[in-house]
């Protein structure tokens, strides 16, 4: 059985990609941003997921305004990096996982999430920047460490799907993954945000208080977040800050109780507040997971596993 082991939230600012591609990561401005992802990269190297589901949005690269799918799942064998006007980013082609992707499509559509299926799709910085932040720089002619199932969400044209809808889609994805027969360890990325506005006279808006609350609740009480109306995101976190709903797909795909492994926040990268979080599902059988074993029987093992997770969290934080 496949299983989602962790969720990752990360901004996907295009200028971060440009800094990587142009060798500026050691400049003080950018070092402040990249240093926040060093521990995450170490965590990723140790976690070695088999597949990553990446929830992101396209920025007028694959979709333009001719077609605006609310949720689009990439089922192709590979996804070339898009030409965003400066030539494609010098990163490897993103390999897909068609078997898992089509399994997810079949499962969630029958669960009443009417996805668009993409069997051919270019992917832009919305996906490849978070991949760089978590996997590090990867040579164009090499391979990303794991295949990816892309899930593109419309957050460009209003209205994007509601936070609640995103969360429930995450739930349906979790169910789909858990019914996939192969033993895969899956991570899921929610990308975009945090607070930022890049359009109109109010451009430059940042709301760190909002962002911190969002991260706190994402970790401990996501039900509070699913109720936030779009108007509040746009007013408080900027017109483009509404991308944060994509993090709720990721959170919905995790167990109710998770361990916060790592968090990072800095302002700014270009015009945006950069947020990052890693949330790990607790090992199955541990207390507080969705499918709890009858009390008593498995307690010592559960206790042991939880202690191990805590030690791991401690180790990575320190």
């Amino acid at each position: 059985m496949a299983r989602i082991i962790a969720g990752i939230g990360s901004s996907h600012v295009p200028a971060i990609g440009a800094a990587i591609d142009n060798g500026k990561t050691e400049e003080p401005y950018w070092k402040r941003v990249f240093s926040g992802f060093e521990k995450s990269q170490e965590w990723m190297r140790q976690t070695k997921p088999d597949v990553a589901i990446i929830v992101y949005n396209d920025h007028a690269s694959a979709f333009s305004v001719e077609m605006i799918p609310t949720f689009a799942l990439g089922c192709a064998a590979e996804f070339p990096p898009a030409d965003e006007g400066w030539g494609p980013r010098p990163v490897p082609v993103v390999e897909g996982h068609p078997a898992l992707a089509s399994h997810i499509a079949q499962s969630v559509i029958l669960d009443e999430f009417d996805l668009t299926i993409c069997n051919k799709m270019d992917v832009d910085h919305g996906m490849t920047v978070p991949m760089n932040l978590l996997f590090g720089k990867v040579d164009k002619n090499s391979h990303w460490p794991c295949p990816v199932v892309p899930l593109a969400v419309n957050v460009v044209m209003y209205p994007p799907p509601t936070g609640h809808r995103c969360f429930m889609l995450g739930r349906a994805i979790k169910k789909a993954v858990e019914s996939f027969p192969d033993d895969l360890r899956v991570v899921i990325f929610g990308t975009g945000g945090l607070s930022h506005q890049i359009s109109g006279p109010r451009a430059g808006l940042i709301n760190s208080k909002w962002d911190k609350n969002f991260l706190d609740n994402l970790s401990k009480d996501p039900q509070k977040l699913v109720k936030i109306p779009h108007l509040d995101y746009m007013r408080e976190a900027g017109a483009e800050g509404i991308e944060m709903v994509m993090w709720l797909v990721m959170r919905g795909a995790l167990d109710d109780k998770v361990d916060e492994v790592y968090r990072f926040y800095t302002v700014p990268a270009s015009n945006t507040a950069v947020g990052h979080i890693i949330l790990a599902n607790r090992p199955r059988g541990a207390k507080g997971t969705a499918k709890r074993k009858p009390a008593g029987k498995h307690k010592p093992a559960a206790k042991h596993k939880r202690a191990a997770v805590r030690a791991e969290v401690q180790r990575i934080r320190s």
């Binding site: 295009p14 200028a15 920025h59 007028a60 333009s64 305004v65 001719e66 605006i68 030409d83 965003e84 006007g85 400066w86 460009v156 044209m157 209003y158 209205p159 607070s195 930022h196 506005q197 890049i198 359009s199 109109g200 006279p201 109010r202 451009a203 430059g204 808006l205 940042i206 709301n207 760190s208 208080k209 909002w210 609350n213 706190d216 609740n217 509070k224 977040l225 109720k227 936030i228 779009h230 108007l231 509040d232 746009m234 007013r235 408080e236 017109a239 483009e240 302002v267 700014p268 270009s270 015009n271 507040a273 507080g288």
Partner: protein
């Protein structure tokens, strides 16, 4: 037909790219999209007004594009991810465009970002709805309550209430 009014029209300095603007601005956005190709950039630069005719813009939209009035383009249905392609074709960085839209110099805009960005205080509403979102208020209350609880009850009472919830 006059534009339908929405709750988000109350957000100052913001043109929400909604379904109506998406329909209205189709030509602007398809024009911007066309600039992804070098031959199109060259054709546009050679004769801007002539090139724009292919995209069936309204006279107001054509005027906004020719004048590089980025806010007006947004108001008339342009979307920022698309209009940014026009800026790039002109050789401008995104931060330059952002500064232009806010009426600041690029230097001042960059300094504002380094200083933590534009504050939300006083920038929430045109009509004076400047109270923070209920979501923020609720969070402030919980953290205040947690703090006072931690002061009075110490950790023991905290863990008790947690286990009570689980049951």
């Amino acid at each position: 037909m006059a534009r339908e009014q929405h709750d988000y029209d109350d957000i100052p300095g913001t043109f929400v790219f909604d379904a109506e603007r998406s329909r209205q601005g189709f030509g602007i956005n398809m024009f911007c999209m066309s600039l992804m190709k070098d031959e199109n950039r060259k054709a546009f630069k050679a004769n801007e007004a002539e090139y724009l005719k292919k995209f069936k813009l309204t006279p107001e939209q054509t005027d906004a594009v020719l004048k590089r009035d980025y806010n007006r383009m947004l108001e008339l249905g342009g979307n920022i991810y698309f209009t940014a392609k026009l800026g790039a074709a002109d050789g401008h960085s995104f931060q330059h465009l952002a500064a232009v839209m806010t009426g600041a110099s690029q230097q001042d805009y960059a300094a504002m970002m380094l200083g933590g960005g534009r504050s939300v205080e006083g920038n929430r509403s045109r009509s004076g709805k400047n109270a923070p979102s209920k979501f923020l208020l609720a969070a402030a209350k919980t953290s205040a309550a947690a703090k006072s609880k931690a002061k009075s009850g110490k950790s023991k009472s905290k863990s008790k209430s947690k286990s009570a919830k689980r049951k």
